[in-house]
Amino acid sequence: MTKRVGMEVSIAVAEAVKLADVDVVAVYPITPQTHVVEHIADLVVDGELDAEYIPVESEHSALSACLGSAATGARTFTATASQGLELMQETLYVASGMRLPIVMVVANRAVSAPLSIWGDHSDVMTVRDSGWIQIFNENGQEMVDNTICAFRIAENQQVLLPVMVHMDGFNLSHVIEPILLPDEEQVKAFLPTNNYPLPLHPSKPVAMGDFAPPFIFTEARWAHEEALRNSKRTIVEVWDVFAKEFGRQYKPVESYRTEGAKTLLLTMGSFSETAMTAVDKIREEGLSVGLIRLRLWRPFPFEELREALQGIDTLIVLDRALSTGGPGGPVASEVRAALYSQNPRPQIVSFVGGLGGRDITVENFETIIKRGMEIAKSGSDKEFQMFGVRE
């Protein structure tokens, strides 16, 4: 039976992992991810989840152990953040290149130095091109739902790719929210047993991870590219089935109060909820502004985004990461690239803010929107605006 509970989001994610009846969990502690794996440990020792729990000695080994277990056909989960994701970097490419359907929750956090345990999207952006499916979430309910959906997407025989489910550190990982925990039987029906097509087993020897000389490497990369691009179809299908079964609909690009708006704000992750409140307030002032929430970061939803932005004059993008010495906000940069071929195309104003756990309040968002509109009109010689920085 579906239960409505008040629960810390990290704990709810662990409950979702239990509902997914995961087989192997390899873990290494890092703030702000630890509550997820601590609660999974409790579930395993209390016999509520029948899984092998491997408390490894580093994040590199966490994902490496996942490579091994996913290769045997076991449903495999891990979670990490920040430096942990950095240490995994090398293994991330192996997971996707070898088409191993691992699910990983990333509690997004800044990257050192200076040391910061607080949230932003710097860690995600360093693994942007690692070939994983990447889904962003705004609240605890979305984390639960998309953790469950992630397994169905990853293990789909047309996909067979690892999935990162992003959860903003602290802003999401450590807050207590009302959450609908889906019914176990319903999840079981939604999520069939993992049926990895060519598992490691002596009954049918396979060689995995052979090395590719130049005559085949490009084709291997292209096959991966096609698989990742085509996965969008499956992702959308899974979200549609989920909506039918559980009544909550997710889309690659989601809109909020965009009707009639010539100016749109674009955000990713938990700040979108604050942005919604700001949009409500600004609409009350008579300005017609709406919000675009980018849910699917990889594969990048080019068509959906172009469609959502049709007919607008100004797009204001808030990034929680900085492409240092480059174009500023990575999301803004990609959105610009996606719209460059469009005619007409909107003015794009890029803001970078909310770094290393600094909050962006409703008032801040109002400021961003208003300043963004001014800059769109007057123009700016800067690639991006560093919001709230003391120079």
Partner: protein, 312 residues
């Protein structure tokens, strides 16, 4: 012993888990060791292979020499991958998704993958107690990348990153004692082996698989290319390494040391170093220093061994 030689082939498994046609150098001691190890481990095996010569010479798309399920991922994570493979099999058997049977998990890597870059992952996997066999094929340097020093390179050996020159006699540090590090993890079985003594090696590998936990075997693997030796003396060099006590053969079962063979009189170190280009530059003084260290280490090893278990 002579009779045993005549009948030796009959004592070996005929089937080749590692088939011919690989690209290893002529006289490669490591590939011989891998082939023997694969024979010893049998068909019910999943092999996890670190990056290195053995991956490069045996797994170029679209070919493979492996007749058992095989996975290669990276250089330093082999033991961690093996722990994942073992855990995956365990839970799938428990949940009835694959048949309940004994499937051996083995991880193999060179000395660089084991003693240097992969030491942490190996330490973690040993400490956690996964049931798997880790075999380090020790050819005493990074051979796949062109003979660079590792922490397994012996004192005085000239490599491309510890070259002998006007101000250097080559490798400046003593070989890391990896078997002792493995023993310190309180794992049930640690051994050293050499393909020049195939039956001893096969026995140890088979024995290692019987323990319900991690086991570690370090296999001395002569590398004609990296050591600058003739390709037809690899077996002899392996024997000389043992007969001079440069690489003594022993096993450690649940912490108890046992020499696999002892010699009434050890051969002099120079019998072993002389045919090798990597030691050719060494002065008599440095050779004497190494000889002294070899004997000292051997005495230390013998001291750990129960005397009554030593067979001459």
């Amino acid at each position: 012993m002579q009779n045993l030689n005549v009948f030796a082939p009959r004592l070996l498994e005929k089937a080749e888990a590692f088939s011919p046609g690989h690209r290893a150098c002529i006289g490669c001691g490591e590939v011989l060791a891998v082939r023997l190890a694969a024979k010893a481990m049998g068909k019910n095996l999943i092999m996890v292979n670190a990056t290195g010569c053995m991956e490069i010479i045996a797994s170029q798309i679209p070919n493979t020499n492996w007749n058992v399920p095989w996975i290669h991922t990276l250089f330093e994570n082999t033991a961690a991958v093996a722990s994942g493979v073992g855990s995956g099999l365990k839970v799938l058997m428990r949940k009835g998704r694959i048949p309940q049977e004994e499937i051996n998990v083995a991880a193999i890597g060179g000395d660089g993958a084991t003693l240097d870059i992969g030491l942490q992952a190996l330490s973690g996997a040993m400490e956690r107690g996964h049931k798997f066999l880790y075999i380090c094929f020790d050819n005493e340097a990074y051979m796949n990348t062109g003979v660079q020093r590792s922490s397994a390179t012996p004192f005085g050996a000239s490599t491309t990153t510890s070259p002998a020159g006007k101000n250097s006699f080559g490798q400046f540090s003593w070989k890391k004692d990896m078997p002792a590090i493995a023993v310190a993890h309180n794992i049930p079985y640690v051994a050293t082996a050499c393909p020049s003594y195939p039956f001893d090696m096969i026995r140890k590998i088979k024995k290692a698989q019987t323990f319900d936990g991690p086991s570690y075997i370090q296999v001395f693997s002569v590398c004609p290319t990296g050591w600058r030796t003739a390709g037809d003396i690899s077996i002899r060099l392996g024997r000389l390494a043992v007969e001079t006590a440069v690489f003594p053969l022993y096993e450690v079962e649940n912490g108890k040391y046992k020499l696999s063979m002892d010699f009434p009189k050890l051969k002099p170190l120079t019998d072993y170093t002389k045919p090798q280009g990597r030691f050719r530059h060494l002065s008599p003084e440095v050779l004497a220093q190494i000889q002294e260290k070899v004997l000292q280490k051997y005495d230390e090893l013998k001291a750990k061994t129960a005397l009554d278990e030593v067979k001459p």
